[in-house]
């Protein structure tokens, strides 16, 4: 089980800030996760319709879409950052 967190408009479109998810075996990479989540419902589909724009952090470190999700305790999905 992994805690998945959402921020900014990803959070708003999915409709929740976080959830615990048991990932199926076929979800190997960050990219797999995004494509799998996208199928869940309209909210996810809307949030993740352009997966390439979604930034991902694993255990609070930035992760590329080809990185494996195995061993993640916490995965966060969010839009490109606009702080500073």
């Amino acid at each position: 089980m992994v805690k998945v967190r959402y921020f900014a408009w990803v959070r708003e479109r999915i409709g929740k800030a976080e959830e615990d998810i048991v990932l199926p075996d076929e979800v190997i990479s960050v990219g797999d996760l995004l494509n799998w989540l996208k199928e869940r419902d309209e909210g996810y589909a809307n949030a993740l319709q352009h997966p390439q724009t979604i930034r991902v952090a694993i255990n609070q470190e930035h992760a590329d879409h080809d990185e494996p999700v195995a061993g993640a305790r916490e995965i966060a999905l969010f839009p490109p950052m606009t702080g500073g």
């Binding site: 967190r5 921020f7 900014a8 408009w9 952090a57 609070q60 470190e61 930035h62 966060a76 969010f78 839009p79 490109p80 950052m81 606009t82 702080g83 500073g84």
Partner: protein, 156 residues
């Protein structure tokens, strides 16, 4: 330069005072020749905005700014480095972010402060949303390509 200094990183709702923060950064030192500060403020975009709302990823925000700051003290001979980023609701004119770099030499202080800001913009997990002049929440601010280009200057 001996050991790199340990940067100070804070993520907070409270405002900050630039003079007080800089004083702490240089306190008891007589080897500081140059301090560069960057302060980022909330703009009203010609009166269109009543506020900016800043969301952040608690934990990762501190960790990511700390990683950027650690890289800066490795790259430049700094005597002190500070980064503060606020979150919550900011009114036009409010402080949002402060980066202060102290060094014996001005070029190091300028470059380090500029480096930290460029990475903070593109790597630190904060998101800005506009609040319209009528008080209604508006659009999330789009990331700027210019910011990615600014970051790319530093690759080596």
């Amino acid at each position: 330069m001996a050991e790199p200094v340990t940067p100070t990183v804070r993520v907070q709702t409270e405002d900050f005072d630039v003079s007080a923060e800089v004083a702490k950064l240089t306190e008891g030192r007589t080897d500081v020749g140059a301090i560069v500060t960057f302060t980022g403020l909330c703009r009203d975009e010609g009166g269109a905005l009543s506020a900016l709302e800043l969301e952040h990823y608690p934990g990762m925000a501190e960790a990511e700014i700390s990683r950027i700051a650690a890289e800066a003290v490795q790259r430049w001979p700094l005597t002190g480095l500070l980064a503060i980023h606020r979150y919550g609701l900011m009114r036009p004119g409010d402080n949002i972010v402060l980066v202060a770099a102290a060094s014996s030499h001005r070029q190091a202080a300028f470059e380090a402060a500029s480096f930290v800001m460029d990475f903070l913009k593109t790597e630190a997990p904060f998101w800005k949303r506009e609040h319209h002049a009528n008080g209604e929440p508006g659009a999330w601010v789009d990331a700027k390509e210019m910011d990615d280009e600014a970051r790319a200057r530093w690759s080596r």
